[in-house]
């Protein structure tokens, strides 16, 4: 009698194990990678470019590049770092091509109508809070988004990876392909600028 093979659910596997499975051609593993990282990657890119359509295109491009090159992934590196590195590279390249250094919280720079500005403006959604807390949180969140949008793209990427994605300095240095000292400097300056921009709000 054949012995039933017990396989753990994909959600319980580590990134490395899911990637190893995807390398054998298992479509569910590809979908699991997407489920785990589509929101973080899309959010990072959206906060960088502040245009939903562009963010969607860049996030798609990121995943297609990553998933089509899984055989080149080396398990000694953290998979998410590799993924964010590709997302960051594509986003920075896009911003350089478009020469968008800073963006406005009120809408994308190329928004010419009220509707398009509203469609590209950032709405910060709060979780499980009283109406007053929600209002305060929304205000602070919106103010933070606005302040982040005003940073240089390099600062923006570093500060988002540090404080939203909770990455270590070493990981950030690997993701943005910059020396560790430069990353620390960028984060320090970004924090300084954020503090200054948010001084009145807080």
């Amino acid at each position: 009698m054949p012995v039933a093979r017990v396989t753990p659910p994909l959600e319980s596997l580590s990134d490395a194990a899911v990637v190893a499975l995807a390398q054998t051609g298992a479509e569910p593993a590809y979908r699991e990678i997407l489920t785990r990282y589509e929101r973080p990657v899309f959010s990072l890119i959206f906060r960088m470019v502040r245009d939903r359509e562009t963010a969607e295109d860049l996030a798609q491009e990121t995943f297609i590049k990553v998933l089509n090159n899984l055989d080149r992934y080396s398990p000694e590196f953290k998979f998410s770092s590799w993924l964010f590195k590709i997302a960051n590279n594509l986003t920075i390249d896009h911003l350089r091509r478009r020469r968008i250094d800073t963006i406005s919280i009120e809408g994308a720079p190329d928004a010419v109508t009220v509707e398009s500005a509203r469609a590209t403006s950032i709405a910060v959604v709060s979780q499980d809070q009283s109406p007053l807390e929600e209002l305060e949180s929304r205000e602070l969140g919106t103010a933070i988004e606005a302040a982040i949008a005003g940073l240089r793209p390099e600062y923006r990427a570093c500060i988002l990876l540090r404080h939203v994605e909770d990455r270590s300095y070493e990981e950030i240095a690997e993701i943005v392909k910059l020396p560790l000292g430069t990353v620390k400097t960028y984060i320090h300056r970004a924090r300084h600028e954020l503090r200054a921009a948010l001084g009145e709000v807080r």
Binding site: L10, L21, T24, E27, Q60, S137, I144, R162, H163, V164
Partner: protein, 182 residues
């Protein structure tokens, strides 16, 4: 990591940044990506799907074994009469071969055995029948009889005869079934 929060002025901002929500990509995002990804070779996919059948759970086993079933079915006749005839022929051959094997194994004299069972008259009848069988068939059978011995030769003749009778009976039965069905 502690240096981030040593800055008292920045600590509330850092905490607020941690609480910033993720933005949702469109609902079709994953499908759009998957549609443009080259998923690895089908053979490897089959192995992996067996391990993690997340999609297309309806009938993975049937799907996987269909080619095997098709290959096996190719060896069997499709119509019922042909199947009955084939089974009859195989059955008679297997019985004969088993008998030949037993005779060879125990070095029994088949003539003695048959004579004891059916009597001397039967032996004489079989011998004359063998002599009367057509030269082509008899030649072939005689060749094997000459090498394997008289007993084995008779066994082979018997198997062909039994096979032919069984096949005829099978075909007639099948024909009558078809007539009834029509």
């Amino acid at each position: 990591m502690t240096d981030d929060y040593s800055d008292e002025e920045f600590a509330p901002i850092a905490a607020a940044m941690k609480r910033l929500p993720y933005f949702e990509p469109p609902s079709h995002f994953a499908d759009s990506v998957i549609a443009r990804v080259n998923i690895a070779q089908p053979a490897r996919v089959a192995v992996a799907r067996e391990s993690y059948p997340v999609r297309h759970r309806a009938a993975p086993l049937q799907h996987e074994s269909a080619p095997q079933m098709a290959r096996t079915a190719a060896y069997f006749p499709r119509s019922l009469p042909a199947r009955i005839a084939a089974v009859a022929l195989l059955a008679s051959l297997s019985v004969t071969m088993s008998a030949v094997a037993l005779v060879a194994m125990f070095q029994m004299d088949l003539f003695v055995f048959v004579a004891r069972v059916f009597g001397e008259g039967t032996i004489a009848f079989l011998a004359s029948l063998a002599a009367d069988v057509g030269s082509a068939a008899a030649g072939t059978v005689a060749g094997s009889a000459a090498t394997a011995g008289t007993a084995s030769g008779l066994a082979v003749i018997g198997s062909f005869a039994a096979g032919a009778i069984a096949a005829t009976a099978g075909l007639r039965a099948a024909a009558s079934i078809n007539r009834k069905a029509a």
